[in-house]
Symmetry: C2
Subunit: 400 residues, 2 copies
């Protein structure tokens, strides 16, 4: 049963006195733009509404999507200031009315429509999943965006079977690891992928064949598998759709995926822009081409499925399968690094620079890193640092 | 080992004498057009080449595809005269060199690129499948075109799962029955379909909801399932692609299928025609639309897969699964009627008129039906008969 939490405190003498408002730390986006727009702020504590649970957050997942939110390149963004974050794990601290399946103290994962990066978050029960007892909060926070997406694409859309092959970009990121691990649950599946050149060596144990982002991957894959692959997972933006389709074997499936609908950095609709230029026309696919070639093209957008198409039960079933695979030791999120809320800008920079191998985690209880002293090598060092920050403002869609 | 069959006969006195050439009856298309172009002819007996087996044919399948061949509305048709037919079952009578997996006397199904409608057919071993001992030749001849197509679409492309739903047109035809039976091997699957009005009552046992061909099926389906269906199977020609996609649930799959690439009755390329008119543009699908709606579009063309993309082993694996399901009593072809070679025109007419429920079979050993006496009701009856023949010349693509 939910405990009633009073906003006043009763003193021994029986006289009620106002209590100072409690606060929680949140990562707030004050406006769309660069790293400086992201700040840790204190906000008043919240209460769970009906059908919600209040979670004390222990770990949050950082995704490429968060960089896109920060830059304002998504369709249908809420207004700033907003509390960022789409996934977290923690402990239930309070129940709203009508949350019968949960109890205070439950260790849970939450999939949120923003607001996950805070010490407390109130989440509707349909987006809350009880974690297996042997799962860490870090692992829990790493599951929703990457493992749900990977599972649905590989198995429910892709119908991956024994002896088949998969190609995806950015195989070194969180999603890449999820795809590799889930693919290994099927006998004799080969994974091809691209990654930044610095990561190639580190990924060779997980992936059959890794190519540098810059190479002609179609040619590279066909050296190993002249017929192509059974499944191509291509993160939005669509420039590579026909290239991806050309990489498919007969009966192959191309899946265009991403976290959200994106717009250009100038907040001009990506779609209306795309429709007006010729290269996009090329990428429209005739059903007759698919028919002549025995091929499939799919789109998958997890947040659309969860928050707009309201397929809660379906997503919960997939999450339960993931829990089972986790408990069997068949999947285990690869955590690149964990960061204090105050260091979120550094974490975002690392993701932008594609330097992470696996998942980036934010931890509200972690102490911030001591700030390093200013570089003492003349202007060169600070220029380089400045350049890096500027680069970070660029728009990239092939996120890891 | 193949026996050497001599074309000469040795007389007791040791003097070789020429033997009269042996003949076999075939159904030959003498030129593209109406029913009169289809004739039973005698041709010289054939021998199996290397890698082939010679089959004494017992049963042949008639498909809508054969009507399209006759009318010359397919791309890449061979020249006439040609022996028609794409599937048959019979007994191996002779082995060519290098056919190690077969023996004389084997009961087999053959999937052919034309030539199946004959007393003998020589088929490359990769398209020949040994039948289960409890399978009749009629059932064997009914499997390749319809059951392979249905199986691949439902399970390998569609990934049909418990509780899902399927919609297809012409649910009363051979493919419709295959889809219904195979769907029932998955728990709690609902099949929606259209059929000719005369068949609705007869199909209600097999199909959850059958609608008349003429109704607005999207509206009808949504009365029962407001969200739509999980799988739409739509036979080519593409007019209904967007309608079919609109019938999909989130995560739904639309499969455009057919037997071959078709052209218009005027032998003008359907595709170049289609590209030049605006309604076809509408049917091109943007990957972004699929992405926004979490949908899939696929094309499937069985003969392309088998004869051009050379996926023999894959198709053989599917056939083996069908044999297993047949032996378990889970699938059983519904035979509408069996016809003598000489009555092929009547069989084609019945298919064109959509009067069949299930598969039409041709049997080279069956006696032709006695020809009925001329109608004695003045000119009216013969006019009607003439009208029917003319109608038969029309081009229709939604075959059963």
């Amino acid at each position: 049963m939910p405990e009633t939490v009073s906003t006043t405190e009763t003193k021994p003498d029986g006289v009620a006195a106002p209590v100072p408002e409690k606060h929680m730390r949140c990562i707030v986006l004050s406006g769309f733009g660069g790293l400086k727009m992201v700040k840790v702020q204190k906000k008043p504590e919240i209460k769970p509404a009906e059908g919600q649970v209040l979670i004390r957050v222990k770990s949050c997942g950082l995704n490429f999507l968060d960089l896109m939110v920060r830059q304002g390149v998504l369709d249908n963004l809420p207004k700033t200031p907003l509390t960022m974050g789409f996934e977290c794990a923690g402990e239930i601290e309070e129940l709203g009315e009508n949350a019968p399946d949960f109890a205070v103290g439950d260790r849970v994962i939450a999939f949120t429509d923003y607001t996950a990066w805070a010490e407390h978050v109130a989440v509707p029960v349909q987006y809350v999943y009880k974690m297996p007892s042997n799962m860490s909060y870090q692992d829990g926070a790493a599951l929703p965006m990457h493992y749900l997406t990977a599972y649905v694409m590989l198995f429910d859309i892709g119908n991956l079977r024994k002896g088949q092959s998969v190609f995806l970009h950015s195989v070194g990121g969180g999603l890449g690891h999820a795809v590799c691990q889930l693919s290994k649950t099927v006998e004799d599946v080969t994974v091809f992928g691209t990654a930044s050149s610095g990561k190639l060596d580190k990924l060779k144990d997980n992936v059959a064949h890794v190519f540098d982002h810059g190479t002609d991957y179609v040619q590279e894959v066909k050296k190993f598998s002249p017929e192509g692959v059974d499944l191509v997972l291509d993160s939005l933006c669509g420039e590579d759709t026909n290239k991806g389709i050309s990489l498919l074997k007969p009966m192959g499936k191309y899946i265009l995926y991403g976290s959200s609908s994106i717009v250009t950095g100038e907040t001009k609709s990506f779609f209306s822009f795309a429709k007006s230029v010729s290269w996009w026309q090329v990428d429209k696919v005739s059903p007759i081409k698919l028919y002549d070639e025995n091929k499939t093209i799919s789109g998958f957008q997890l947040r659309q499925l969860v928050f707009h198409q309201r397929q809660h039960q379906y997503v919960r079933n997939v999450m339960n399968k993931l829990f089972q695979l986790y408990s069997q030791g068949k999947i285990h999120p690869v955590i690149d690094s964990t960061w204090a809320f105050e260091d979120v800008a550094d974490a975002m920079q690392k993701m932008h620079d594609r330097k992470n191998i696996g998942k980036l985690i934010l931890d509200p209880n972690l102490e911030p890193k001591p700030k390093s002293p200013p570089v003492q090598e003349g202007t060169k060092g600070s220029e380089a640092a400045e350049g890096e920050k500027e680069k970070e403002g660029e728009h990239s869609v092939n996120g890891e």
